[in-house]
């Protein structure tokens, strides 16, 4: 399939990345080549094959509903952010 400029812009939006014009062109070219490569899977017959998402069979494990101790304290975690006020992380306006 052919990847058009609007496809790249759509993917950038899905990915939450703003791209410069030169990056749109170069990434578009790269993505086109990568998609061409992975499309060779069309040649493999996978009819009636179950998908694998995880290599080991997982079983659900129940545990008591209690609070586990945390590796990091609230203060330590909050100290990692750029802007903080009254124990809350500050960001630019949302709306």
């Amino acid at each position: 399939m052919e990847i058009k400029r609007e496809d790249i812009l759509h993917l950038a939006e899905l990915s939450d990345i703003s791209l410069s014009d030169t990056e749109i062109d170069s990434l578009g070219n790269d993505l086109q080549n990568i998609i061409k490569y992975i499309s060779q899977l069309d040649n493999l017959n996978t009819d009636n094959v179950e998908p694998t998402y995880q290599v080991f069979e997982m079983e659900n494990v129940w545990r008591e509903d209690e609070i586990a101790t945390q590796d990091a304290s609230r203060e330590e975690l909050l100290s990692l952010t750029k802007e903080e006020e009254d124990n809350q992380i500050k960001v630019p306006k949302v709306l």
Binding site: S26, L41, F56, L80
Partner: protein
Amino acid sequence: MKIANKDISAVSLVKEALEKAKKYKDYNIFISMNEEAALKEAAEIDEKIARGEKVGKLAGVPFALKDNFLSPDGQTTAGAHILEGFKSPVTATIVEKLKAEGAIVIGRTNLDAFAHGSSTENSYFGPTRNAYDFERVAGGSSGGSAVAVALDIVPFATGSDTGGSIRQPAAFNGVYGLKPTYGSTSRYGVVAMASSTDSMGFFTKTPEDMDLLMSITSGQDKKDLTTLPDFYNTSESKEVKRIGIIKDFDNESVDAEIREALKTKCEALRNKGFEIVELDMPVLKYALAVYYIIQPAEVASNLSRYDGVRYGFRSEDSKDLDSLYEKTRDEGFMPENKRRIMIGNFVLSSGFYDAYFLKAAKARTLIIKEYEDAFSKCDFILTPVSSNPAFKLGEKVNDPVAMYLEDLMSVSVNLAGVPGLSIPAGMTKAGLPIGLQLVGPRRSDKNLIEFSKELI
């Protein structure tokens, strides 16, 4: 690696490692050093030994940490700009286990940003040079760790292997590199790339050191629900009779000297009485395409957390929250990170999910079955690690698909969850190391390491 015999002090060992690291500064092996804390820890161990107290199996042994393992010693960067200033309050389980035995972190090694790459050229901190040729790549993504061990700066280093990131740089620098069975070592506290294939392992100079490290770090971890109960330390030794070689990998796209090295090792094994079995594994040629669908899909999900809000780099002057996310991610990620995130969102997006992601997940089942069939015919498989020895800096950096092809012979191991051990197998005429890969069934790690001694 044991040093608790007073002949040599932990302080002198750590000092020596730090001096060597300085001597090889031009190779760009380390992103940051942990000098002060390392010397302090070494002095504490020497005091313990002097007082006759019990010390761990790795007491005073200096090691290098791939810079995607979280630990409060300094910053964790994952080779990326977007984690700028990030000092982790938590410690990776593997690091905790190594430290409990007295091992000492001397520094954090360079990697392709978020482990996305096969040359360490995608690092925000510049490429690491090959231990044998300054103009060539270290391999990747764990390039810094491989070179740190190859140049004898440290006796071991940690690595993560999602598609070949331990085995290929090990091969490029002539050291041992193990990607263990998926789930045998904990992923907790290591920056996630593709969670269904990420495996944590090591670089060493000998199979004995690898065995010691695995015996220390294997086992179930409540903080990583995909870890398996310890099978490593309860493994029973198994008689090895048959070694498989993969017919499809013996073709002209593989470097002639690497094919020759494989033949030489097979001949040596025959002379020791092992049987060499040729294997047909026709689905393996699709493994790289499968990997470059599943891995970016998981990358897109795992890297969605980097948005400049809670930690790391934040783009300045954003007018609203959306532009804060978009600008932070544009400025903070390397081009390869962006490619993988966007490919991941492509293969997962409506309209393409069935044709790409679901198709790849089905193909993965076929790859697992192909390995199961292969291990009904042989005990272990011996293959090249990559199609070529270390390539020149800059050679593949503008061609993502050529770079991806570096992982052609290593990714199927990750998709199947089986262990793979890269072993040194001689040198090319030009003086570059050649590596071969031993692959075993799931949970055969201990026997795989043991068997590698037959190939020294």
